[in-house]
Amino acid sequence: MCVGLPARVVNMKDGKAVVDASGAKREISADLIENLEPGDYVMVHAGIAIAKITSDDEEETDELLEDLL
């Protein structure tokens, strides 16, 4: 449905963010996310940040699994 790519914000300017995913950089729209700062991680889809993400690994999923077992 929607390819998403986690990326790190390296720069912010006028509602635009430059993000870095493993060395691939692109300017994206940060209009939908409030208070983004360099160093934050976002999920990118079709040139916009659709969510601020808590970290760049899947720790939370691991915790969920832990809770379940």
Binding site: M1, C2, V3, L5, D20, A21, S22, G23, A24, K25, R26, E27, V44, H45, A46, G47
Partner: protein
């Protein structure tokens, strides 16, 4: 537009200006004893088996990080010859140049061809130049043909892979395709990636010095390593078992592919060979490659099997098996 400094239709009309162009650009850079003013090169070839190949080059933009169409046109043909185990000897080139093409860029292209040819040990022995009207071609198109001598005892072919052989790739994959994608600036992505474009005759010689028992060498150009593996699987009627995690891909290439939803195995390379050797020679061949100028990141990426002939089966990051999707034409970035 300043006419001086650009290629005009008169440069292709066969008159004085054509000679000027040839003298100023091509003779200047390509000079060697076998390149004469006659209608054809005359070569003294010894007996034996020769590889002979031709290839056309169109690339937009004509110059890109890590090379230009000139370097590409020499590497492409040199590498095609090298894939047959041949030592490349002579090359010819034909240019179709768009009216208005900058003379300076043309000179850079010719200079790159000369440098690359020298490195690969080939002589440019004949050439042709045509100028086409504005818009009839995109910048410059180059066709090169080349001939090379195959050493005795060497016989490589896409049909010679046998179960048990190991599959090597001579370096990290997909950089050329990625570079061109970025250079076209269609998608606004930046990354510090340069083309892998390189002449590989030396690498092939280094491998043949280890053993002449190399079954397949193939240049993974357009279509990438994935396409080459499918070609070999079909030609040799074998299965290819690919270890997805062993395939060397630079992180930034992965990042670009991630953004655009592309598979690195299908990105073009211009300086990467897929090599298939009997298992007993694989480590020595790999060691020789890793000493090489362009092949330091060579890796074993899989094995030839007798399962599912014609198909490439991938062991994935979770250790499960899946089919590598067969190649399917134009690479289109996807959002879904």
């Amino acid at each position: 537009m300043e006419e001086k400094g650009r290629v005009t239709l008169a440069h292709g009309a066969g008159g004085k200006q054509t000679s000027e162009l040839i003298d100023r650009v091509f003779k200047e850079y390509f000079a060697n004893p076998d390149l004469t003013g006659d209608d054809a090169a005359v070569l003294g070839l010894a007996g034996g088996r020769y590889a002979f190949s031709t290839d056309g080059f169109i690339v937009s933009p004509a110059s890109f990080p890590g090379g230009n169409i000139g370097k590409l046109s020499i590497c492409g043909t040199v590498n095609d010859l090298a894939c047959m185990g041949a030592k490349p000897l002579y090359i010819t080139c034909a240019f179709v140049i768009e009216e208005g093409f900058p003379m300076e860029e043309l000179e850079q292209i010719a200079a790159s061809m000369a440098v690359t040819a020298k490195e690969a040990g080939v002589r440019i022995v004949a050439g042709d130049t045509k100028v086409a009207g504005k818009g009839q071609v995109d910048g410059v198109f180059i066709t090169t043909s080349g001939i090379g001598l195959i050493p005795e005892g060497v016989e490589t072919s896409g049909s010679k892979a046998v179960p048990g052989d190991l599959v090597l790739v001579t370096g990290d994959i997909g950089r050329h395709g990625c570079t061109i994608l970025l250079a076209r600036e269609d998608f606004g992505i930046e990354a510090d990636v340069t083309s892998d474009c390189a002449p590989l005759a030396g690498a092939v010689k280094a491998m043949l010095d280890v053993t002449d028992q190399i079954h397949v060498i193939r240049d993974a150009t357009r279509g990438g390593v994935g396409t080459v593996l499918y070609e070999i699987a079909e030609q040799s009627e074998v299965g290819v078992s690919l270890d997805a995690e062993a395939v060397p891909v630079r992180e930034d290439v992965k990042g670009v592919c991630g953004m655009l939803g592309l598979e690195p195995l299908y990105l073009a390379c211009e300086g990467r060979l897929v090599v298939i050797v009997p298992e007993e020679h694989a480590q020595a061949v790999l060691a020789a490659l890793r000493e090489g100028k362009y092949t330091g990141s060579a890796a074993v990426i899989g094995r030839i099997t007798d399962e599912m002939p014609g198909r490439v089966i991938m062991t994935t990051e979770i250790g499960a098996k899946t089919l590598l999707p067969p190649p399917r034409g134009e690479l289109l970035p996807r959002i879904c």
